[in-house]
């Protein structure tokens, strides 16, 4: 027979992994403990979590339990779930720069400037919705053309492509 503390620890682990409601029936089945014991143990556990005033709480819901965060700390969680700032890789930035200034442009043309295969990076930029397909080029093979998107403008804080820093002044540098 399992010890009381062991059952609590196992239930804790189960509630954590599930990230949602775990039914009383599930706990009984997984732990193989009588219903009455489980109810008693869970009641105790809910109270312990409450009293400890820690970051996590266990709540009884609908013949089951969920683990959730203590509302007292919601301020920090709001800060955390704010959009996670993500940077583009240098290779992605480089590819994006080529597309932005030379659009519409084919993969072969991009690769010619970069000197390396760029298939995966282009796929990645497409997935991030920073570039989009813009028809095909009227040459043999009819390769796909790429252009930047609205999302690209948003990310780079531009109102239109005309806002891209002009290249002329840079040439003197």
């Amino acid at each position: 027979m399992l010890m009381r503390e062991e059952i609590k620890a196992a239930v804790e682990a189960i509630l954590f992994v599930r990230a949602g409601r775990v039914g009383l029936d599930e706990i009984i089945e997984i732990m193989d403990v009588p219903l009455f014991d489980v109810i008693d143990i869970m009641r105790e556990m809910v109270a312990e979590y409450q009293e400890a005033n820690k970051g996590l709480l266990i709540k009884e819901v609908d013949e089951g339990y969920v683990m959730c965060t203590n509302p007292d700390y919601s301020d920090y969680l709001v800060k955390m779930t704010e959009p996670h700032k993500q940077k583009l890789t240098p290779a992605a930035m480089e590819t994006l720069a080529i597309i932005a200034y030379s659009q519409p442009i084919t993969r072969a043309e991009i690769e010619k400037v970069r000197g390396v295969k760029s298939e995966r990076i282009i796929a990645n930029l497409l997935e991030k919705n920073l570039i989009a397909e813009a028809g095909v080029k009227a040459v043999i093979g009819r390769p796909i053309l790429y252009e930047t998107t609205e999302e690209f403008l948003k990310v780079f804080g531009l109102t239109s492509l005309k806002d891209l820093p002009p290249l002329e002044e840079g040439l003197d540098v």
Binding site: A13, F16, V17, R18, A19, G20, T81, E82, P83, H84, K85, Q86, K87, L88, M93, E94, L96, A97, I98, A100, Y101, R107, A108, E111, K112, V113, R114, G115, V116, K117, K128, L130, V139, I140, G141, P143, V155, F156, G157, L158, D163, L164, P165, L167, G170, L171, V173
Partner: protein
């Protein structure tokens, strides 16, 4: 041998060798090279339809085994072994490779068991959905300008040099590229079309070699109606790929 040989079930030549050693209950430190080589060759001969590229790896091992076998048969080896010198057994390297390989193969099996929850393992939280964390990209437009100017500058300097491809280009891989293209375009493609995306010579030659190999295997058919006319490529009737 009465069994059906399925080379595909071995992850590579070392795997096959380990199997043979195990099967024959051989001491790995004293491998009868002649016997093992013969069995190994028999396996290769008995194998049916098999991926060309993979077969290459097995053939490299075969030639290595044959070299070892001939070294072992050279006269005078026997006496030398009695001397307590730093004489190297020609099999040493093979033994080391087999041991190294086996070590990781066993580790892989252990990891697989971990994954399946045998033994103690930790669990992490299930994410309700993959997109639960909003991600926002940040970047500045000025960096785009700097990057493009850099690239142009680099390309200007590079123009007089040959382009060196970063990776080795693989003929087997190019064969697949061609077959994939032909599967999509069953009514055939132009010869030139195949090469339009090529950015360097090495890639070009690999692609060309791949095409020749496919034609040899009759997996691709090339047709030219008149001298110097256009060449069209069609999927061939060769063995399935």
């Amino acid at each position: 041998m009465e069994y059906v040989v399925d080379l595909d079930s071995f992850h590579g030549p070392l795997d096959l060798l380990l199997y043979l050693i195990d099967e024959n209950q051989i001491d790995i430190y004293d491998i009868p090279i002649a016997q093992i080589t013969d069995q190994y060759m028999e396996y290769l001969n008995l194998t049916g339809d098999f991926d060309l590229e993979k077969l290459g790896d097995f053939l490299i091992m075969a030639s290595y085994l044959l070299t070892l076998k001939s070294q072992m048969m050279l006269p005078g080896k026997q006496e030398e072994e009695d001397e307590e010198s730093d004489h190297m057994d020609p099999r040493d390297e093979l033994v080391q490779r087999l041991l190294d390989y086996k070590k990781f193969k066993m580790a892989a099996e252990k990891l697989e068991r971990f994954k399946n929850g045998e033994g103690k393992r930790a669990f992490y939280r299930e994410m309700p959905t993959k997109i639960s964390l909003p991600q926002e990209l940040t970047a500045s437009a000025d960096s785009l300008k700097i990057l493009i100017l850099d690239l142009w500058e680099k390309n200007k300097q590079k123009q007089n040099f040959f382009q060196v491809p970063k990776d080795d280009i693989d003929v087997g891989e190019q064969m697949e590229v061609i077959l994939k293209l032909l599967r999509k375009r069953r009514d055939g493609i132009l010869f030139q079309e195949l090469f339009h995306n090529i950015i360097n010579k090495k890639e070009l030659s690999a692609l060309f070699l791949a095409l020749l190999e496919l034609m040899r295997l009759q997996k691709v058919k090339a047709e030219q109606e008149n001298d110097f006319g256009i060449i069209k490529l069609y999927p061939g009737r060769g063995r399935k790929c």
